[in-house]
C-alpha cells in the first residue's frame, strides 16, 4: 500500500502532539486514531521497541490469512449451482433494442439512469456529457467538460443535477436547469478533488453527498454544498476502478473494485474496510450489488464475472466460458436478481442466469466495446453505452406478460 495516499487527507489537531497538521487516519482495534505523520513514525518505532518486529508482524499476518481461509472453507458446504438445480428453468429470452441514442462524437464511457426511469446521462471521451430523454431519444442537455475522458457520470436522486469527472481528477456537479438555453457550465460546482483520475461517482441517498473512486487508490465521501471531504477510504493498493452503494434498505456500506484485483466492502461512516475478496485474476472493472444487498457481482479483465455473497464471505459463483476471452467491463442485475447482464470488450453483452451460472443469451449490435451497462430503476429496460459512440436501450421483447402455470415449475412465454 502506498503511504502517499494518506497525506493531506484531513487536516486538524493530532491526537498525540495536538498540533494542527495533515493527519493520517488509522484504526487500532476499531478505534479511529488521527496522528500526524511524525507521531505515526514515533508510534511505529515504539512498536519495534516493545518486541513487535517487522518479522513478527509478517508472521502474524500469515497466520491470520490462513485462519481466514480455513474459516471460509469450513462454511463452503455446497455450491450455489447445486442448490439452484431446484430453481425454475428460464425460458428463452428475446431482448430487443428499442432505442439507439446517437449523438456522442466519441466513445461513450459511462451512463446512468434518472430515477424517473426515462432520462439517461452519458459521458464520453471527447468531454461531452449529454442528458437524454430515452423515450423520445431527444437530447435535453449537453455539457462540454474542460477535460477529455469523462469516465464517470451519475444522476442525482432528485433528477435535478448530474455529477461527472475523469482526467481532471475532480467530480463536478451541474444543476440541471429547466431552461434549455441556459449555460449549464456556468453553474458548475467542483466537489471532489483527487490526486489522480476519477473512475466512478455516485450520489448517496440524497443530492447532498457524493461518493467517488479514483485512480489514486482511494474512495471518498464528499459534501456537495461545501465540497468538504467527509470520509476517505484507504485499502486498495492500486487504482480504484469502480464502486457501488448498497441498496438503501441494507445499510451504510459500499463495495469498490480495483486494479489490485480486489473487491473491498466499506462502512461509510467509519471508513473501515470490513470485507475483502481477491479471487479475480485481473483488474475489476465493475461491481454491482445484488438487489437484496446480500451479495454483489463483479466484472473483470480476466473475462469472468463473479458473484460474492457478503454473509458467507466468499465467492459463490463464477460466470465464464472458454469461448469468452475478452474482459468484461460492466455488469448489472435485473430487478429480481435472477439475470446478470454483462458487457464485454468483444462488443457483446452476455446475459447470465445468476443462480444456475449458465449463459442464457448473447446480445449483439454494438460495433465496439461495451463500456457501461445499467438496468433502469423500475427494471423495464437496460441501457448499454459503447465505444461505438452510441447507447442502446433494450427490453424483453415478447411483449406479453408470461404466465406462470398454477403450482407448476416451468415458465411459459
Amino acid at each position: 500500500m502506498c503511504d502517499q495516499t494518506f497525506l493531506a487527507i484531513t487536516f486538524g489537531p493530532c491526537d498525540s502532539c495536538s498540533e494542527n497538521r495533515p493527519l493520517m487516519n488509522l484504526y487500532i482495534k476499531t478505534e479511529p486514531i488521527n496522528y500526524c505523520s511524525l507521531c505515526m513514525e514515533i508510534m511505529a518505532c515504539q512498536g519495534l521497541a516493545s518486541g513487535e518486529t517487522l518479522k513478527s508482524l509478517k508472521a502474524e499476518s500469515e497466520t491470520l490469512r490462513k485462519k481466514l481461509e480455513e474459516e471460509r472453507k469450513k462454511l463452503h458446504d455446497v455450491e450455489l449451482e447445486k442448490v439452484a438445480e431446484k430453481a425454475e428453468a428460464l425460458g428463452e429470452l428475446n431482448m430487443k433494442t428499442r432505442r439507439t441514442l446517437k449523438g456522442h462524437g466519441n466513445k461513450v464511457l459511462c451512463m446512468d439512469w434518472c430515477k424517473d426511469k426515462r432520462r439517461i446521462v452519458s459521458s464520453s471521451q471527447d468531454g461531452k456529457v449529454i442528458v437524454w430523454d430515452a423515450f423520445t431519444t431527444n437530447k435535453e442537455h449537453a455539457v462540454t467538460m474542460p477535460t477529455t475522458w469523462v469516465m464517470a457520470c451519475a444522476y442525482a436522486p432528485s433528477g435535478c443535477a448530474i455529477a461527472c469527472g475523469g482526467l481532471d481528477n475532480k467530480c463536478s456537479v451541474y444543476p440541471l436547469s429547466l431552461d434549455k438555453d441556459e449555460n449549464l457550465a456556468a453553474k458548475k460546482k467542483s466537489v471532489a478533488m483527487h490526486t489522480n483520475y476519477l473512475s466512478g461517482c455516485t450520489f448517496t441517498n440524497s443530492d447532498m453527498q457524493i461518493l467517488t473512486s479514483s485512480g489514486d487508490g482511494t474512495s471518498a465521501l464528499w459534501d456537495v454544498e461545501s465540497g468538504q471531504l467527509l470520509q476517505s477510504f484507504h485499502g486498495h493498493s492500486a487504482d480504484v476502478l469502480t464502486l457501488d452503494l448498497a441498496p438503501s434498505e441494507t445499510g451504510n456500506t459500499f463495495v469498490s473494485g480495483g486494479s489490485d484485483k480486489k473487491a473491498n466492502v466499506w462502512d461509510l461512516r467509519s471508513g473501515q474496510n470490513v470485507q475483502s475478496f481477491d479471487t479475480h485474476d485481473s483488474d475489476i472493472n465493475c461491481v454491482k450489488y445484488y438487489p437484496s444487498g446480500d451479495a454483489f457481482a463483479s466484472a473483470s479483465d480476466d473475462s469472468t464475472c463473479r458473484l460474492f455473497d457478503l454473509r458467507a464471505d466468499r465467492e459463490v459463483s463464477i460466470y465464464s466460458k472458454d469461448s469468452i476471452m475478452f474482459g468484461a467491463a460492466s455488469v448489472d442485475f435485473s430487478l429480481s436478481g435472477r439475470l446478470l447482464f454483462a458487457g464485454y470488450n468483444d462488443y457483446t453483452i452476455n446475459v447470465w442466469d445468476v443462480l444456475k451460472g449458465t449463459r442464457v443469451a448473447i446480445l449483439f449490435g454494438h460495433e465496439n466495446r461495451v463500456s457501461s451497462l445499467r438496468v433502469s430503476p423500475d427494471g423495464t429496460a437496460f441501457c448499454s453505452g459503447s465505444w461505438d459512440n452510441t447507447l442502446r436501450v433494450r427490453q424483453e421483447g415478447r411483449g406479453v406478460g408470461r404466465e406462470l402455470k398454477q403450482g407448476g415449475t416451468t415458465l411459459y412465454g
Binding site: 502517499q4 512498536g47 509478517k58 462454511l75 455446497v78 439452484a84 423515450f135 429480481s336 435472477r338
Partner: protein, 83 residues
C-alpha cells in the same frame, strides 16, 4: 521529483515509505484481525436465501417476464387491431 506508480511525487515521500514498513505491516495485521472476526453463514444458507429472493421477486421482473405492450413506454405507438 521521482516517478512512482505512474505519478510524479516529491522524493522525500518515497524515502518515507521504507521507514514505514512496520507501520504498514501493523495496519495489515489490524485489517486482517477485523476481517477474521466477522460472523459468517454457510454457503447453503446464503444460496437458499438468494434463490428465495429471486423466486419471490421474479414475477415482478419485467426483463424476465416481458411487459404487456399497453404498459410499455418504449413500445412504438402503432395502429393495431384487437383480435
Amino acid at each position: 521529483m521521482c516517478f512512482n506508480r505512474g505519478v510524479w511525487r516529491p522524493t522525500y515521500l518515497s524515502k518515507m515509505q521504507s521507514s514505514s514498513n512496520t507501520a504498514r505491516a501493523r495496519r495489515a495485521v489490524q485489517q486482517l484481525r477485523i476481517e477474521a472476526s466477522i460472523e459468517r453463514i454457510k454457503v447453503s444458507k446464503a444460496s437458499a436465501d438468494l434463490m428465495h429472493y429471486c423466486g419471490e421477486q421474479g414475477k415482478y421482473d419485467p426483463l424476465l417476464m416481458g411487459i404487456p405492450a399497453s404498459e410499455n413506454p418504449f413500445k412504438d405507438k402503432k395502429p393495431c387491431t384487437i383480435l
